[in-house]
């Protein structure tokens, strides 16, 4: 179990929308062929029931996505 501070989404499309908001806010990508294609990326809580998608908090996300929340992500048991 990992305790994550960030943003939680029920569907992948919601996570994609949040990512696009951040890209738009920070003007990413600067050019279409840039290495940097997204400002932030989302992850999949595959082992949780129900499953969900989430973005780990970073200070740069606050003006775009607002106040983060704490939630648990189930991870494989140790040792991993």
């Amino acid at each position: 179990m990992a305790y994550i501070n960030g943003y939680q989404y029920i569907t992948e499309q919601e996570a994609i929308n949040a990512r696009e908001l951040c890209d738009s806010y920070y003007g990413i990508p600067v050019a279409p062929d840039d290495i940097t294609q997204n400002w932030v990326d989302y992850q999949f809580a595959e082992l949780n029931t129900p499953q969900f998608w989430y973005i780990v908090f970073d200070e740069s996300l606050f003006p775009v996505l607002g106040t983060p929340i704490d939630f648990e992500v189930i991870t494989p048991p140790f040792p991993i």
């Binding site: 600067v30 290495i35 932030v40 990326d41 780990v56 992500v73 991870t75």
Partner: protein, 289 residues
């Protein structure tokens, strides 16, 4: 008069000699120094936070990272590494396409240093590089890396310094949160077959050179050129093995490395006979031990 690296032979200037000139045929090689005389590419590509534009940063004539260009480009701002270029000749660049996941190399206009040499800081939250092309099958791997962990608390307690993963088995180098020991694994994700591990803990905020010989019949671990452990085990990978620096290959959220990275070299061969020579070359440049 003959000088070994940058000197004069008769009336001629002797050319640069890098680690990979003496010990060639690496499968992938990343560094903040030039590693091969014939390599004409750059060291890193940097994104500056002030406007998110990028610039390639190369080397000086002496083979050091061109920090003059780097600080000029990142004047008064932060710089993050989008690409750590592969100097092996295999074009296996290590990249990070997400800004929040890119390691940092300039902080408020100043180049980040470890022991006087440039270093890139992995945040311990989400920073990692993935190799742009996969490895062919192998049964002997030799890996050398220069790192300085900052801390082992939080997610970094289970830090993966690197991971080579073929979809079933993997070679990863990590810290075990329960024992505090550094070790390798050559196992499935959930190992019943455990790793070869160092006999002592590696303290945070100490730069060190790790050398791992993950061979077909054994795993040999060296810490600053001193052998720590040797275990009978098999380290094989199938065609298509992926490589990740700074996190587990499946990007599990609790396995991030927090600290500084300066060099990472992979040979898909047994380098046991060259081990001391390679370690000495690295230590001569970085002054680790």
């Amino acid at each position: 008069m003959i000088l070994s690296t940058h000197g004069i032979v008769g009336s001629q200037i002797q050319s640069f000699v890098g680690l990979l000139d003496t010990y060639p045929n690496a499968a992938a090689a990343y560094s903040v120094r030039k590693l091969r005389a014939a390599y004409t590419g750059n060291a890193i590509q940097v994104r500056r936070s002030s406007d998110n534009t990028t610039q390639d940063i190369g080397f000086t004539a002496l083979g050091n990272l061109d920090t003059t260009t780097l600080t000029s480009f990142c004047s008064g701002t932060n710089g993050f590494v989008t690409t750590w270029y592969d100097q092996s000749g295999n074009a296996r660049n290590a990249t990070q396409t997400t800004a929040a996941n890119q390691p940092q190399i300039v902080s408020s206009g100043s180049v980040i240093l470890t022991n006087t040499k440039p270093a890139m800081t992995f945040s311990g939250i989400s920073n990692y590089f993935q190799f742009s092309s996969n490895f062919a099958s192998f049964n002997n791997t030799s890996i050398f890396n220069v790192i300085e962990p900052s801390t082992y608390v939080g997610a970094a307690a289970n830090a993966r310094f690197y991971d080579l993963y073929d979809g079933t088995y993997h070679i990863q180098y990590l810290r075990d949160s329960e024992t505090g020991l550094l070790h390798t694994k050559n196992t499935l994700w959930q190992p019943s077959l455990d790793a070869t591990q160092y006999t002592t803990q590696a303290a945070p905020t100490v730069q060190f050179l790790s050398s791992v010989l993950a061979l077909s019949s054994s795993s040999d671990l060296y810490f600053n050129n001193s052998i720590q452990a040797k275990t009978s085990s098999s380290n094989v990978g199938s065609n298509g093995t992926i490589g990740v620096i700074g996190q587990r290959a499946d990007i599990l959220a609790i396995t991030q490395f927090l600290g500084n990275y300066q060099e990472f070299i992979v040979y898909q061969s047994n380098q046991s006979t060259n081990l001391t020579g390679i370690n000495t070359n690295i230590n001569t440049y970085y002054g680790i031990y």
